[in-house]
Point group: C2
Chain length 639, copies 2
């Protein structure tokens, strides 16, 4: 079979592929980060490239305008290589990760990252049982001629007496030197006990009293964003939080692309390492900052969507995306952290929050727990987790039903030209003067603006809409204004010129960005609408709507409704809970009662597959306006 | 500190030691096998060496005769090196192992070894529960859009439905490729399930139906002898048995010496490897002979005394021999066999039969089980396990009491000049003509005689006693006869001249051998006597005495009583059960109900430390005659 060279500009990378390979697969081989939300199905229209030389064969698509076709724009996923070719990857088609230089990553990484909001919802709840891992200091009675119980039975007997641990397990490693350890320490030792379903494992035996040093890590592993938290398990205290982009994004911006990539040679391994290396780096930084010894980090708990959990554990994720969309596992037994490449105490365990289905994972279970939706007293509520894979849960103690809406990472500041995570320097609030279109804004930490985070985008679109800069379709009007100009992604509106920004270029929003954000908000709104309809309910039936996600701490509720992201309900029904996944994960780390409840939540929750709901596509299409095609659904919105 | 050279003849080995080091410790460093039953405490008098050059300082001892002192004989354990020295290790001081050349070992190893007697005692018992490891073939319903249970839940749900397995565990290794495995096998798989205390582990998942191939190994790990058995777990059938000497004997003939040796640099590791290498070799040979794939060998179960179990698992055994004599563990949780260096299926488990105390181990528990002493219907019985470390158990379903008597390995054919295990070519029966002292004998397998096994020695001593060749003290009389001559171990009596033997030298018994056998039988008789007295009982109170041990299948009860090894009771009370340890181990392998009973036995059994019984030493001294000092105890014995 003939082989051809494909060269990508501006990366200056060349790769050889077989005839009829797609440009997208060539880009994956070359390590060129082309955006592809739909995973190469020709649906999202994000993987646009410009053919500079050579010939390709492209399947018919309605996602390119006649103007684009004239310019030589092709969808990388639908175009098959027919000769040596050269293509240009425009800025808007680049997977967001590429934008963040190593230096920049380091900067955001070491920032004070206070976006983790411990909302009342979780604070009010009291879990009485102990952490997943506890340290117990024991002073044992030495044996004598009248008491010749073996060392191990002596130790286990004492543990059972101290606390109600039923079935104790331990590995041979901890037995081998037990006799010497007990005697050299004068029979005073500290045991580390970790829950393992119905049993308890003695993971470590240390001389003397080390019980004050017992720490855990919890992680929210998002498709786009990683959040890690170091917790003092004795004091139930958060010592520090880190967030970072999930480096798996280099292999695809969404779960589908990554599942496909996992089938490449070493693909699964690379995806696995991309996330674990970042997690290990977070751990290293946190323990260094807080003077914690790695050995005293005795357990780690991860909440992630189902694909993230599979990739973390190097479990083949292939069948998540193939009908009938069944994951290998929703409930993962505790394993030794080192088996997943996570470096904590070498005998420490790794727990994964159980998930529900292929597209509703442990992060959602965790969110439901942290919002107390399963509480006896709770009424029928809704949780919307706005992430790359948006998830919605409806229910109360008796039932819970969930669905997923592939929103994309726009509200996490990814896949949009000037987007960033909600960290220092992110524009989080925007006002635009209707008179002269001059924007005023507020950044996180009051720093010079570096980009725009989710809450900033919500404000920005709402304000552009209100002030008439964009129409209800989201297109920037062809107005004569110094801030409005043509770009290669349609028109753009400059929010901050680079002279006033901590950025090498102007901070702007363009037609493509707005389109991304519109699709994201439409996916979420229509999913919620469908889920309620499916259950014979409407927005008024729900007393509380919890909004979770990493888009910032100060979302303007009115603006979120004005752009049609959230339904037009009484404002006090809407409660922003921040990262509910990490909050729930932390609760589980600190009490296995919370873990037990999470397991119950995951077992109880059902999953509604929207792709089989006939109404969903209509709802989605109708929501592709600001705020909506049917303005009767948004009576309080006056634009 | 000054350092001196110590040279050992005839080994021609030289080692450098510090001043005041004992000759015994120098021998251990040099790898010279000096016999030391007491472990260097100056008690057994076995480690005699002849000083040829240089000077040593020896503690006072009554164990050397004036004649020996004159000849330059020293006890290696009591003699401290004061200059460069040269010593001769006489044949009688050599640890037995050295006598067996590699070639010879190989020969005995590949013999048909049929000594494992499955006695009625165990055959009559019926255990209804399943083997420790079972294979279950499952044909699963594939998922569809109406049944989207995860692969793992589908599998586990099906297992729980098929059999009553409550808490299933499995490692991440078996989860990683589960999805592909299920689909590529058309949803037909075989799971291997292994008991782990109160839970069950899925140790393996294979495509298609492999359930017919499920095998286990059980081992009796004796101080002197190893016995291994390959069992078809489906058919409850023994496929083959191997026995071999425990190669740890190179480091010491008894548990005490080995515990001391374990403190040497790499000592524990060497002891561990000595036994596991032999076990692996047995496994390899058995599976090759019976066409079993190593992967289908799914579990291994070991019964051994407490020290053997510690060494097998590389657990520090130090405190077994230090007051108050407490082992690290009597109950060992199941571990992966590979963690102990045993090569079976890489995920297969290793089980150890629980022990009772430092000197009553899992082999005794196993013996009690196999004799059915814990049965509801059983009356008050006694089990005597005649091994290097002799153990005695008295009791029934309501109580069990045990004690240990350090008998030495003489009845296992070790530590005696022409001893051998009860395998092909061993003299197992002997008659001596009172008229002309001509012996007639019978060998195992009818082969040319190669040595004498335990039952042969019992006959031989009884016959020598009856025919007047030895006196009641066990000394060979200075008779003029072609078979009686002087040797460097006192007088000796030739049983078979080498021309008629499969041996490079005459097969004989000497004064030192008889002394060894006398001490062994005295230790056992007096221990039994003490144990009964302690409980306010006598020999007549006991309806059955089970005799276990590797001394052969055809012990002559009258002769065993005539030499005072067994008490003078009604002959039908005495039942030889062979290797009761391997029989019990096999029962456990084949049914976890047996394992549960063994655990109950071990928990229930108490231990009487004879060294704290004031009467024991007197009893022992009185038993150092054939049959006994007090002939009133042996009314039926006419000599």
């Amino acid at each position: 079979m003939s082989r051809f060279k494909v060269t990508f500009h501006p990366y200056n990378k060349t790769v050889e592929v077989e005839k009829d390979a797609t440009i997208l697969s060539a880009a994956v081989s070359a390590g060129v980060p082309i955006n592809s939300v739909c995973g190469g199905d020709g649906v999202c229209g994000r993987c646009k490239v410009v053919l500079k030389k050579g010939s390709v064969l492209m399947q018919a698509t309605g996602l390119l305008s006649p103007e684009e076709k004239k310019r030589g724009v092709y969808l990388a996923c639908l175009s098959e290589v027919q000769s040596d070719i050269e293509v240009e990857v425009p800025r808007g088609s680049t997977a967001d990760f590429e934008k963040i230089s190593t230096q920049e990553l380091k900067k955001t990484f070491s920032d004070i990252e206070d976006i983790e909001p411990v909302k009342p919802a979780i604070r009010e709840r009291l879990f009485t049982k102990m952490p997943l891992t506890v340290k117990l200091y024991l002073s044992l009675q030495p044996p004598d001629l009248n008491d010749k119980v073996s060392d191990l039975d002596r130790l286990c007997g004492r543990i059972k007496k101290a606390e109600n641990f039923s079935a104790l397990q331990l590995g041979i490693v901890n037995i081998r030197n037990l006799s010497e350890l007990l005697r050299s320490s004068g029979w005073k030792v500290t045991v580390t006990l970790s829950r393992r379903d119905q049993t308890t494992e003695i993971t470590q035996i240390e001389p003397q009293d080390t019980s004050l040093k017992n720490f855990g890590m919890c992680f929210d592993i998002g498709t786009t964003t990683l959040t890690g938290q170091l917790v003092d398990l004795n004091k139930s205290e958060i010592l520090g939080t880190k967030t970072a982009y999930n480096k798996q994004a280099t292999f695809g911006s969404d779960v589908i692309t990554r599942i496909i990539y996992a089938r490449e040679p070493d693909g699964l391994e690379k995806l696995h390492c991309a996330v674990t290396e970042e997690m290990n780096r977070m751990i290293q930084e946190l323990i260094a900052e807080h003077n914690v010894d790695l050995n005293d980090l005795t357990c780690v708990l991860c909440a992630g969507n189902t694909t993230m959990t599979h990739l973390l554990l190097r479990i083949d994720p292939t069948y998540i995306r193939k009908e009938p969309y069944v994951p290998t596992a929703n409930f993962i037994p505790p394993i030794r952290a080192t088996e997943a490449g996570i470096k904590i105490n070498p005998r420490g365990l790794l727990y994964c929050v159980p998930g529900v289905a292929s597209y509703v994972g442990g992060d959602v279970t965790s969110g439901v727990l942290s919002c107390g939706m399963n509480d006896q007293a709770a009424s029928l509520n809704v949780l919307i987790d706005i992430g790359t894979n948006g998830e919605i849960v409806l229910g109360h103690k008796d039932y819970l039903i969930s669905c997923a809406a592939s929103a994309g990472p726009a509200f996490e500041g990814s896949g949009v030209s000037c987007g960033m995570r909600a960290t220092k320097g992110a524009i989080q609030k925007v006002k635009i003067s209707s008179r002269d279109f001059e924007p005023s804004y507020e950044t996180i930490g009051g720093a010079k603006p570096r980009g725009i985070c989710g809450s900033g985008y919500i404000d920005l679109i709402a304000e552009m809409l209100r002030s008439g800069i964009i129409d209800k379709d989201g297109k920037i009007k062809p107005l004569e204004h110094k801030r409005i100009r043509q770009s290669d992604m349609g028109r753009e509106f400059v929010v901050v010129f680079k002279d006033n920004a901590d950025s090498s270029s102007d901070i702007a929003i363009n037609d493509a960005d707005i389109d991304n954000l519109k699709r994201a908000k439409a996916a979420i709104y229509s999913a919620l609408s469908c889920l309620l309809k499916h259950m014979g309910l409407d927005f008024d039936s729900v007393p509380k709507i919890f909004i979770a996600g990493g888009f910032g701490t100060s979302v303007d509720i009115n603006n979120a409704i004005n752009i049609g992201l959230l339904p037009d309900v009484k404002r006090n029904k809407i409660i922003f809970v921040g990262n509910s996944s990490i909050a729930g994960a932390r609760a589980m780390l600190l009490s296995y009662e919370a873990m037990e409840q999470a397991e119950e939540i995951a077992r109880k929750m059902t999953y509604l597959d929207l792709s089989t709901e006939p109404a969903y596509m209509d709802e989605y299409m109708a929501a592709l306006f600001f705020p909506h095609t049917d303005l009767a659904k948004f009576p309080s919105v006056k634009l």
